[in-house]
């Protein structure tokens, strides 16, 4: 761990040593180091292998801008070593190299295979023979890439959060200009958020919330998502200030990707922030004073400067100052090549405008510092609706138009204007070797030339063909070089070539941070604890956690037929509709009548849309003249309440809606001995004469005030008991105790499905879909077209009443014992799909397979035979239109 003496403003704490591993080898670092600075101090120069050619890549920007130092940390790929702070015990590993970073067999693609891997090679070279493509694909996928995600993650240990933040002003970028803008806004009493991704600490600013080490990902309709550690801040602001700075650009020359070629900013950051000497003997190539200032600073820090190539013809004051130190400054010179095998060992310089070996000069060095000018970081601004134009003087695209409430300050807005600089040529020294335009995707200057020759002559097409700008750097290092090369090859101006579209995310972001916190709200009934104690299989049913069965659905169903069963139906939607107009309101919402329902009686209802399609169903009990108790399906509870209140908002009838779904629990007690069991717990006369089928009565059960509905969803004598949810376990326990000697069993959702199927009671959403009408679903009797008043769905239903539907819902039985899959196809004589199976079960009481299906109308009569194709298995089913069990309802009414 070799370090320079104390640097002013260094970020490391030399008093505290942190230990981590790189590829299993122990590395020592100081607190405040990044993985990149620590490894560099440890002597490492190769940090990654490139995407396609597996060339060595080393630190270039030291600011998280380029792809060269991407590693995996604790198994998570895609981490930039140069910005990742060191932590004790962290496990850092290289990516994309086998067997190791320092000897990678796939390097052969660079040495011998280049002519087989031009842009789009996977469409050309490895296509034939066709049948070998799967093999090629496997090899190519293995060879390329930026790491491997673990296939399985036993548990998501990393918890991430969303945070919504509303502010008056958001300032993106915490440099000098950003800090100043934030302070100015805060002085106007604005609520300000300042977002900064850099390593430098920012002093608190009164009235400003500072999000440090946080990256803005994009701009979405006024919301800026900001990734910080384990939080995704979603920041909505009235005004957006962009202080995103400018990005130092590399130069395109032969071997410009060799380890040891570093941007001037990167070399300075290593030295000044982490006290790591970037090299011992440097050659500097620059297009402006930036490189010259860097040379002076590096020289001060003890780096020998072998030569400086300044692209400008004139000798600036900074150049004269370097000359005075005895440093050779070659004006009008450019870098043509970097030489070296594992890292830089020489730089080839030459004068501009003259070619040939005679004028070229090789200078020994172990560091090449380049500065190719700056490109304003306009990506987020472009996403917000700003426009840019090409500035020929500065050789880059600059802001032109800004949308309302968006401002740009600092370098992104051109604060560096006025500096004299030279615009570099698109490529230099092409004869010396590969010149990389795009480091992420290994796209060379020659590849862009080839893509133009093949007809991909616009920047957007070339981008898609060569994948230039599509890598992890998102165009930071390659957009401008690619546009310059494109202009050169097509003979257009840079303005004509234009830029590629800026899209989020602007920085690499883990998928987990976008997913946010795992949020799966579960509803549980007040009796849920009892189901668990009874060993129920608990499954999701919509938002609910429900008892699917208690171990033996067949036996549970049989218990309902032979003795009694108890099921928790608290999930049903429960709406109180109350007011002088309540009856008329329901008459308008349902195809059948409710205004003539006697108090204390129950009627089944199907809600239809104005298109005549089934929306939901349930039972309605008239409690008194003005009050109706409406139940809905479990999954439809919310939607029905919305539907009712929507129409009420328009009709303004004298009706109040109260949603009681969460406040009430309900159980269904059913079976031949249900009457005895209920009678034991209530004073109510439960005789068949006093408490008839479809009666609804208020009574006290086990001391609890209940509404008891005598309905028969499962086909046996049944009582649906509704009561305040707080008494859930009490009522359940009382019923189970009273039934203990009478063979009562709790039954779950699955046996209930068997029981209701025996009665051909439809499940809305299971047996019906958004196209089903009451006529097709074999319930024409529910539609009362003779009602005087209008009702929702009337006009469509009048139409459907006269029209033969293409398919109808019927029951079927199968003799051979095979239970078809729900969704199996009904096929016609030619084998074409003509309908589908919606429900199928084995019925233990009937000892055969029963089901429901939509079949072509001509087959919708008793005795027809239809063919079911269940994943290729053909079977013949008998159509049945009347309930399989107790078709006349004698058991039910008894």
């Amino acid at each position: 761990m070799s370090r320079l003496p104390d640097q002013p403003g260094e970020l490391i704490n030399r008093g505290k040593v942190i230990r981590f591993t790189f590829d299993g080898k122990a590395v020592e670092a100081y607190e405040g180091d990044t993985v990149g600075s620590a490894l560099y101090a440890d002597g490492r120069r190769t940090f990654s292998r490139s995407f396609k050619y597996h060339r060595r890549r080393g630190l270039l920007c030291c600011a998280g801008q380029c792809p060269n130092c991407i590693v995996a940390v604790d198994g998570a790929p895609g981490v930039r070593a140069c910005t990742e702070p060191v932590r004790e015990g962290m496990r850092v590993e290289h990516l994309n190299a086998q067997p190791g970073l320092d000897f990678d067999v796939m390097r052969t693609t660079d040495l011998v295979g280049t002519k087989f891997t031009p842009p789009g090679f996977y469409y050309k070279t490895f296509i034939r023979p066709r049948k070998l493509w799967p093999v090629y694909e496997k090899v190519l996928r293995h060879a390329a890439g930026l790491g491997v995600l673990p296939k399985q993650q036993p548990e998501r240990e990393w918890r991430t959060e969303y945070r919504r933040r509303h502010a008056d002003v958001i300032v993106i970028g915490g440099g000098t200009a950003g800090q100043r803008a934030a302070a100015a806004a805060a002085e106007q009493a604005d609520d300000v958020v300042l977002v900064d991704e850099g390593p430098l600490p920012i002093d608190p600013i009164p009235g400003v919330e500072i999000l440090a080490r946080a990256s803005a990902l994009g701009y979405f309709d006024g919301i800026v998502p900001v990734f910080q550690g384990d939080t995704l801040h979603q920041i909505r602001a009235r005004r957006h200030v962009f202080a995103t700075g400018a990005i130092e650009q590399p130069l395109v020359f032969a071997g410009n990707d060799l380890p040891g070629v570093m941007l001037s900013g990167g070399a300075l950051r290593l030295m000044q922030l982490y006290a790591v000497i970037p090299g011992t003997r440097a050659v500097v190539a620059t297009t402006s004073d930036r490189g010259l200032h860097a040379a002076a600073t590096l020289h001060d820090g003890g780096v020998q400067i072998a030569a400086v190539a300044d692209l400008r013809e004139s000798r600036s004051a900074a150049a004269q100052e370097l000359s005075a130190r005895g440093i050779e400054v070659l004006v009008g010179h450019q870098i043509l090549a970097a030489r070296g095998s594992k890292a830089v060992d020489a730089a080839v310089l030459g004068p501009i405008g003259v070619e040939g070996a005679s004028v070229e000069r090789a200078v020994d060095c172990d560091l090449i510092v380049v500065s190719g000018g700056f490109a304003p970081a306009t990506s987020l601004l472009l996403q917000a609706g700003a426009r840019t134009r090409y500035d020929a003087e500065r050789g880059c695209f600059v802001l032109d138009e800004l949308p309302p409430n968006v401002t740009a300050v600092g370098d992104v807005a051109g604060a560096d204007e006025g500096e004299t600089l030279a615009v570099p040529p698109p490529v230099a020294g092409a004869g010396h070797g590969k010149c990389f335009a795009c480091l992420c995707e290994d796209v060379t200057a020659k590849d862009i030339k080839l893509s133009v020759e093949e007809g991909y002559d616009s920047i957007e097409l070339s981008k898609r063909y060569t994948t230039v700008t599509m890598g992890p750097c998102q165009g930071r290092m390659c957009q401008l070089p690619a546009i310059r090369l494109m202009a050169k090859e097509t003979g257009q101006s840079l303005e004509q070539v234009g830029t590629t579209t800026a899209r989020p995310p602007w920085v690499s972001v883990p998928m987990g941070i976008l997913a946010g916190r795992p949020f799966e709200p579960a509803k549980r009934s007040s009796i849920h604890g009892r189901h668990r104690e009874l060993g129920a299989t608990i499954r999701w049913a919509g938002d609910w956690r429900r008892a699917y069965d208690y171990g033996d659905p067949q036996a549970e169903a049989l218990a309902v037929h032979r003795a009694a069963g108890l099921i928790d139906v608290s999930t049903l939607g429960k709406l109180l509709v109350r007011g002088p107009d309540a009856g008329e309101f329901l008459d308008r919402l349902y195809p059948n009548r409710f205004s003539d329902l006697e108090p204390g009686r129950i009627r089944y209802g199907v809600i239809s849309s104005d298109a005549g399609r089934i929306v939901d169903d349930g039972t309605i009990c008239r409690i008194d003249e003005d009050t109706f108790y409406v139940t809905t399906t479990s999954s439809g509870a919310g939607a029905v309440e919305e539907w009712f209140s929507w129409w009420l908002a328009d009709w303004r009838m004298r009706v109040e809606l109260t949603d009681l779904t969460q406040g009430l629990s309900a159980v269904n007690l059913a079976g031949p001995r249900a009457r005895e069991i209920l009678g034991e717990l209530t004073d109510l006369d439960c005789s068949p004469e006093a408490f008839r089928y479809l009666d609804g009565k208020h009574a006290t059960v086990a001391g609890v005030s209940c509404l008891i509905l005598r309905i028969g969803f499962v086909g046996e004598v049944g009582y649906e008991i509704h009561f305040a949810a707080a008494y859930g376990e009490h009522v359940w326990d009382a019923l189970m105790r009273a039934g203990a000697d009478r063979g009562i069993r709790p039954f779950g959702l699955e046996p209930q499905r068997i029981l209701r199927l025996q009665k051909m009671h439809i499940l809305v959403g299971q047996d019906t879909d958004s196209e089903s009408t009451p006529f097709g679903a074999a319930m024409p009797w529910i539609v009362k077209l003779d009602k005087d008043a209008d009702f929702i769905g009337k006009w469509a239903l009048e139409h459907y009443a006269d029209e033969e539907p293409a398919t109808r819902l019927v029951g079927f039985t199968l003799p051979n014992g095979h239970v078809p899959t729900e969704g199996a196809v009904i096929v016609d004589a030619l084998g074409a799909p003509a309908g589908q199976v919606t429900s199928a079960r084995f019925s233990p009481v009937l000892d055969r397979v029963i089901g429901m299906a939509w079949v072509p109308s001509p087959f919708a009569r008793d005795g027809s035979q239809v063919t079911i194709s269940d994943e290729g298995t053909m079977m013949t089913a008998q159509v049945q239109t009347r309930p399989f069990y107790d078709p006349d309802g004698e058991v039910l009414r008894s």
Partner: protein, 91 residues
């Protein structure tokens, strides 16, 4: 899509708090022809501009209200509770 919406009862909320009921269209008052019924059920104006529409404060007071919104910019120009009965109808 992301913007702020003001519930007439609860105040300013994220749009994700609300359910969208679609543009306001009048339900036919008299028996429509099949074509008119099809228009009412399945066709929308889908205006690129200011549109009157239904919103439901699903994660709040659960009230339906009416907004006038520019569909191009998501700027909400007006918020109100439903006016005279029968003047509008859910689409």
């Amino acid at each position: 899509m992301s913007f702020l919406l003001t519930c007439p009862n609860c105040g300013v909320r994220e749009v994700t708090d609300f359910g969208y009921g679609g543009e306001i269209s009048a339900r036919p008052r008299a028996r429509p022809t099949l074509r008119q019924l099809g228009q009412y059920n399945y066709f929308r104006r889908n205006a690129a501009g200011v549109q009157r529409e239904w919103w439901f404060h699903r994660s709040g007071c659960r009230a339906w209200f009416i907004a006038e919104r520019d569909t191009r910019t998501n700027e909400v120009l007006l918020i109100e509770l439903p006016g005279e009965p029968g003047t509008v109808g859910p689409a």
